[in-house]
Point group: C2
Chain length 234, copies 2
């Protein structure tokens, strides 16, 4: 799985117009979101400049933009570190993620086109075989698609931006592939509730189903990560 598409710095649409600063920002964001640069790690300007064969200027500009996006923390005159997310804040972000997805579901229930509804339904049905055969990786792909389809279906680019940004910031903490095996069937049933509500245009029901679904998942993930957060405190 390539995390690059999670990055809101991958401005590679239309007229890409690559500039060193933007490439650096995208590359660093990617490494951070993938967890290759651990939270708390100090990012040295010179070191990065050497590594990417550029001067310190574009490095500084990229770091500044990452700081504005919240991926790194900038202590004036004291350097830049990869943002450290406290367990508290992690819980908050998961909670907001659930709320945002619930909102997207509500909007999607009334805004989706017939084609979008069909596509969502088809994808969801297809995922059922992955459940039957306990193919976790396949299901995970369907799971991604499920959420992405709903993001698209809400027809609200601002909400999609918020969702993608939040999802990206949570990405490093999802790697855990937390015992999805045991939840495969349950997850599908939860998805089913969301899909049915959306198909019948029940926004409120879709929102509630999605919120419940994510509250379960988020809870587990947050617990899991919180338990081992010490490794990030360094």
């Amino acid at each position: 799985m390539h995390a690059a598409n999670l990055s809101f710095f991958a401005r590679t649409g239309g007229a890409p117009q690559r500039t060193r600063t933007s490439e650096l920002a995208a590359a660093l964001a990617d490494e951070i979101l993938r967890g290759q640069l651990a939270p708390g790690l100090r990012l040295d300007e010179q070191e990065l400049a050497q590594r990417f064969r550029v001067s310190r200027t574009p490095v500084r500009e990229a770091l500044g933009q990452l700081a504005a996006a919240g991926l790194v923390e900038h202590r004036p005159r004291r350097g830049v570190i990869v943002a450290v997310i406290s367990p508290q804040r992690l819980h908050e972000m998961f909670a907001v993620m659930a709320e945002l997805e619930a909102s997207a579901s509500r909007l999607a229930a009334t805004a989706m086109t017939a084609e979008e509804r069909q596509g969502l339904d088809a994808s969801h049905r297809a995922s059922q075989t992955a459940v039957h055969h306990s193919r976790i990786d396949d299901y995970e792909a369907f799971n991604q698609e499920f959420h992405t389809r709903i993001y698209a279906g809400c027809h609200n680019t601002y909400l999609r931006d918020l969702l993608n940004a939040t999802r990206a910031r949570l990405a490093p903490f999802r790697r855990a592939q937390f015992n999805l095996l045991g939840r495969l069937a349950a997850s599908w049933r939860e998805h089913d509730a969301v899909v049915n509500a959306i198909l019948r245009g029940d926004g409120e029901g879709a929102a509630r189903a999605m919120r419940e679904h994510l509250t379960v998942v988020s809870g587990a993930a947050a617990e899991y990560v919180s338990a081992q957060t010490h490794q990030f405190i360094a």
Copy 2:
């Protein structure tokens, strides 16, 4: 009313540590959010450098951060312009604002402390006199306070950040003081529904009431602005 606190660049907590770049970013964000720099306006690096008596470097860094935050648009090799918000996107943002506030209300209904509930109730009751005397300015202040108290009451700093950011970006379009007079009593009743739901711990009810409240307000504002958006296109 000073808009500085609306800016997410006003990182003036703890160790302020002023750096020219951060001051520039805050100052420019402020001017943009106040509408002093019209959307579409081209921001010349040299000109800004002269105006703020600094070199181009901090100006460039500040602009890069504003671009990362979405307040300006960066066309590589072609300069930076103040972000233009289409009527479409404006509608979307208002819709998301309503969803976010609804979520905050839901969370507040269960997370608020006894003191916070008392404070909300007291403030809301006090605002009633402003309605009786049709004192719009007073009511507007209470209105602000009402929303701020709910932001605080949800006990979720990430959600608060999203709310503040969205509210800030919408600020330039709210200036319109759209015929609040006629809505004074209605607004208070809508607030009343939210407050009652929160006080009785009814998250779902609070969310619904808040969403309805904001859908009314947002709709009006969006219409109003869309109608005269041409002035921003140029």
